[in-house]
């Protein structure tokens, strides 16, 4: 049980990432692929946060009650996650606008049919 408990977080993140990858690899529809990418993004962010997580740690905010950083969780990965989320949003917005334009031109979102550029 202790093995499972210490790695439960990592198992959760990587399963989320793998689900996202599965969606991207298998689904032909462009919107589903974008959702898959997003799933994978959140999985990665979750993984980043768990890297800095300490069991039963408190939020890394200095207030009158908590001046010493002992019990606190590592704040650096959380900073990384903030940037990663912002980047994820930017990519998502761009992806959706491209999906709209692709639909305008091809009339379909099925990637198997959007293969004008090959070889």
């Amino acid at each position: 049980m202790s093995f499972l408990s210490s790695y439960i977080h990592y198992i959760g993140c990587f399963s989320l990432i793998l689900i996202g990858l599965y969606v991207v690899l298998v689904k032909p529809n462009l919107i589903k692929v974008i959702i898959g990418i997003n799933l994978m993004g959140t999985g990665v962010n979750l993984f980043l946060v768990t890297v800095g997580y300490i069991h039963a740690g408190t939020a890394p905010i200095f207030s009158e009650a908590a001046q010493q950083p002992e019990g606190m969780v590592d704040p650096v990965p959380q900073a990384l996650v903030l940037t990663a989320i912002v980047i994820g949003v930017a990519v998502l917005a761009l992806a959706l606008s491209l999906a709209i334009r692709v639909y305008d031109h091809y009339g379909t979102l099925d990637l198997r049919k959007i293969k004008a550029l090959r070889w």
Partner: protein
């Protein structure tokens, strides 16, 4: 001595000033990228002599190195950033008249962002900061590839985005693993105590980082997006993509492999990968009809050669690779810019429609020929000097493994020589096809002739006097190779 941070801050500031200027007058935004890149060029060239003596470390927000996000402007970084600035400037001048329709203001902003991203990747010393600049570069290039909004552009942009997002996801996982094991994000700090950790966990993070950056660096299995993206983007953007963007990806891999991990045992694999990329790129390029798609595949080929040279792990090898980065950047930018106006003039991208253009656009086709000859590696041009250095480095190692790989690689350059010379032959000696409907008369604007002509002159002069770039190559190779100096320099003071 100006601080390197300006190289990133000033263009970023100008980029966000463009919408405001756009409100003031319609004509000004077109010139802002020129100013930004001119500034960058001046600053990085002025920084070069200082960087040659010792890398310039810039700490942001006053924190000491292991905790601060800082820039390390070594000789390699400054050389590449001046290359980026130079090509960026010339393409910006080209873009003034080339981009006429569509959201011109947004094009200029994204254009500066892309170059800032590339400069950032090349200068940064912090691994997460590397990821952020990398993302800035990628997102702006996704958008710019789809700038024209026609069916090919949008399709290429979408596919490029999907693969790019997966790639950056992998990089993020790699950075997470690195942070998990070392607890720090500064490359120098990681490099200092990388040997103290078990090999498998270390290797997994290296694998993720290489694959993630590899997507942008056009290594063989990961470059599915490149032919579509480079051929359907507007010519000025594909010039930047081929000239600079993929090189930033390759620089990131080199920095990760050499400085951060010092993983010299993975180099033979990278060498094989480079030669495979070279062969695949040249083979696919041979049968292309569309001129820009052919140039895109030729970029893949040359990237393979650069990766092969990087994997030699000898000083001359790496200086050869950097020299090839410079010469390929110049030549490929020239080819894309020249083909831009040729396509505009003949109305179609088929190579067969470009026949006999030597008579109608003499200067453009002459510059195209200079660029093509330089890429093949024919003597009076810079391509020959870089190919010569690489072959000298390979034979210097004396190991039969590398020499056999070189032999296979030379066959690739022969294939490249074949299809480029076929195009040049088409320019001058094949009869022009009868006038197709989209034929547009009208002279090539002055703003296109200046960059193309300047690039051709540069290729010829550096080819005749390779000493100009040669002096910087030695220290640049050492900057990449010996990790202890890098670590001691960044962590020491």
């Amino acid at each position: 001595m100006v601080s390197p941070i300006l190289l990133i801050a000033v263009p970023l500031g100008l980029a966000f000033a463009i919408p405001v200027l756009g409100l003031a007058s319609k004509r000004v935004p077109r010139y802002v990228p020129v100013i930004a890149m001119l500034f960058n060029l001046v600053v990085s060239v002025s920084l070069l002599p200082h960087a040659l003596k010792a890398p310039i470390v810039v700490r942001t927000a006053g924190w000491a190195p292991p905790y601060s996000i800082h820039l390390v402007a070594g000789p390699l970084g400054v050389l590449l950033s001046s290359l980026i600035a130079l090509i960026g400037l010339l393409v910006a001048v080209y873009g003034i008249d080339y981009i006429r329709e569509g959201a011109k203001v947004k094009y200029q902003i994204l254009y500066i962002l892309m170059l800032v991203g590339a400069t950032g990747v090349v200068l940064t010393g912090d691994i997460f900061n590397l990821f952020v600049f990398f993302e800035v570069l990628c997102i702006s290039s996704y958008a710019l590839v789809a700038y024209r909004g026609d069916s090919t552009g949008v399709e290429a942009g979408a596919k490029y985005l999907i693969q790019g997002a997966i790639g950056s996801g992998l990089v993020l996982i790699g950075i997470g693993l690195v942070y998990g094991t070392f607890g720090t994000l500064t490359m120098a700090d990681i490099a200092a105590n990388v040997s103290s950790v078990g090999s498998f966990r270390l290797f997994v993070s290296l694998a993720f980082l290489i694959t993630g950056f590899g997507v942008e660096a056009a290594i063989f299995p990961l470059n599915g997006w490149l032919p579509d993206a480079h051929s359907s983007a507007p010519s000025s953007i594909s010039a930047i993509l081929s000239g600079i963007a993929i090189k930033a990806g390759l620089y990131a891999i080199a920095r990760v492999v050499y400085t951060v991990y010092g993983a010299s045992s993975i180099l033979p694999f990278l060498a094989v990968l480079g030669i495979v990329t070279l062969l695949i790129g040249e083979m696919c390029a041979f049968g292309q009809e569309d001129i820009k798609r052919l140039l895109a595949f030729s970029s893949i080929g040359q990237m393979g050669l650069i990766l092969f040279a990087l994997a030699l792990a000898s000083a001359t090898g790496i200086s050869g690779a950097v020299f090839l980065i410079v010469s390929h950047g110049l030549a490929k930018a020239l080819l894309f810019l020249a083909s831009g106006y040729m396509i505009y003039r003949t109305g179609s991208r088929d190579i067969s429609s470009l026949n006999g253009i030597g008579k109608r656009m003499p200067i453009m086709s002459l510059c195209f020929t200079v660029g093509a000859f330089s890429l093949i590696g024919l003597p009076p041009f810079v391509g020959f000097a870089s190919k010569f250095t690489i072959v000298r480095a390979v034979l210097g190692t004396g190991s039969t493994f590398f020499i056999t790989l070189l032999a296979i690689g030379l066959i690739g350059t022969v294939i490249e020589g074949a299809y480029f010379l076929r195009i040049v032959q088409g320019f001058y000696f094949k009869p022009a096809p009868e006038d197709s409907p989209e034929q547009t008369e009208g002279k090539v604007p002055f703003s296109a002739l200046v960059p193309v002509g300047l690039l051709a002159v540069l290729i010829l002069t550096i080819g005749l006097f390779p000493g100009i770039v040669g002096r910087v190559l030695g220290p640049a190779a050492d900057d990449l190779l010996d990790r202890t100096a890098y670590v001691q320099h960044v962590m020491g003071d």
